[in-house]
Amino acid sequence: MNNMWILNMGFVALLICTGLYCLLTMKNMVKLLIGVEIIAKGITLALIASGYARDNMLVAQSLAITVIVVDVAVIATALAIIISINRHTKSLDVRKLTKLKG
C-alpha cells in the first residue's frame, strides 16, 4: 500500500516538474497557464494518492474537489487578466511585458 503511495508520488513529481519547466521556459501566457494547470493536476493526484494510502478516501476526495474549485477560480481570473492584457498589447508574449523593471 505504501509503496504504491511512493510510486504515485513519483509520478506527481514528474507532473509538477513538467509544469514548472513549462512555467520557466515558455513565452506564451496561455501556455504558462497550462503549466499551472498541470501542476494542479499533479497536486490533485497527490491528494487522492495520499487518501488512498491512508484509507481515507472520502476526506481526500472532498479535498480534491475543493482544490479543483479553487483552480477554476484562479484560471478564470488569470484568463480574464490575459484577455485584458491582450487588448492592450495585441499579443500573448510575456516578453512584451517589460514595462515594470528595476
Partner: protein, 162 residues
C-alpha cells in the same frame, strides 16, 4: 494498468506543454484530465473523478478555448525552437532522480490504517464544513474578479503612462 494510465497522463501533459498550437495544447490537457479521472475511478475516488471530468476536462477546457479564440488573430508568439531538444534531456534527468529517490524511500514509510465510516456527502458536510465556506468565498472571488476586470464605462483611468 495503473502504470500505463500514469504514463499516459504524464505523456499527454508533456504534449500539452510542447505542442506549438495553443488549441492543441488545451485539448491535450483535457485528454490528460480524462486519464487522471480514470485513475481516480480506479482508486475508488468516484466523486473526484466525476469532478475531474466535468470541471477540469469540461469547464476549464472551455474557458481555455474561449480565451484562445478571443485572443487569436494577433501576432504569433515565437517559442524557443530548442524545447524539443532541451526538454527530453531535462525529463530524462528528472526520471533518473525520481527513480533513485523512490527506491530509497520504498518501505521506509510505515503503514497506518485509519478507518472511516459514512458517505461522501456526510464527510463533506460534517467533517470538512469549513471547506464549503472557503469554496463559497473562492467562487465569489473568482466571479467578482472577472466582473472587475471586464467592467466597462465610467473609467477615467490615470495609470497607463504609455
Amino acid at each position: 494498468m495503473h502504470l500505463f494510465l500514469m504514463i499516459g497522463l504524464v505523456a499527454f501533459s508533456i504534449m500539452a506543454v510542447l505542442s506549438r498550437d495553443l488549441l492543441r495544447s488545451a485539448i491535450n490537457l483535457a485528454v490528460a484530465s480524462i486519464f487522471l479521472a480514470i485513475i481516480f475511478f480506479r482508486m475508488n475516488a468516484v466523486y473526484a473523478g466525476v469532478f475531474e471530468v466535468s470541471v477540469v476536462a469540461g469547464l476549464i477546457t472551455v474557458l481555455f478555448i474561449t480565451a484562445i479564440a478571443l485572443t487569436r488573430g494577433d501576432q504569433e508568439v515565437v517559442e524557443n525552437k530548442r524545447h524539443l531538444l532541451i526538454f527530453p534531456l531535462f525529463f530524462l534527468i528528472l526520471v533518473i532522480i525520481d527513480i533513485l529517490v523512490m527506491k530509497n524511500l520504498l518501505g521506509k514509510i510505515p503503514a497506518m490504517v485509519s478507518s472511516e465510516t459514512g458517505t461522501f456527502g456526510e464527510v463533506l458536510w460534517k467533517q470538512r464544513t469549513f471547506d464549503l465556506i472557503g469554496q463559497i468565498g473562492v467562487i465569489f472571488a473568482g466571479v467578482l474578479a472577472v466582473l472587475a476586470l471586464f467592467r466597462q464605462g465610467e473609467k477615467n483611468h490615470h495609470g497607463g503612462k504609455e
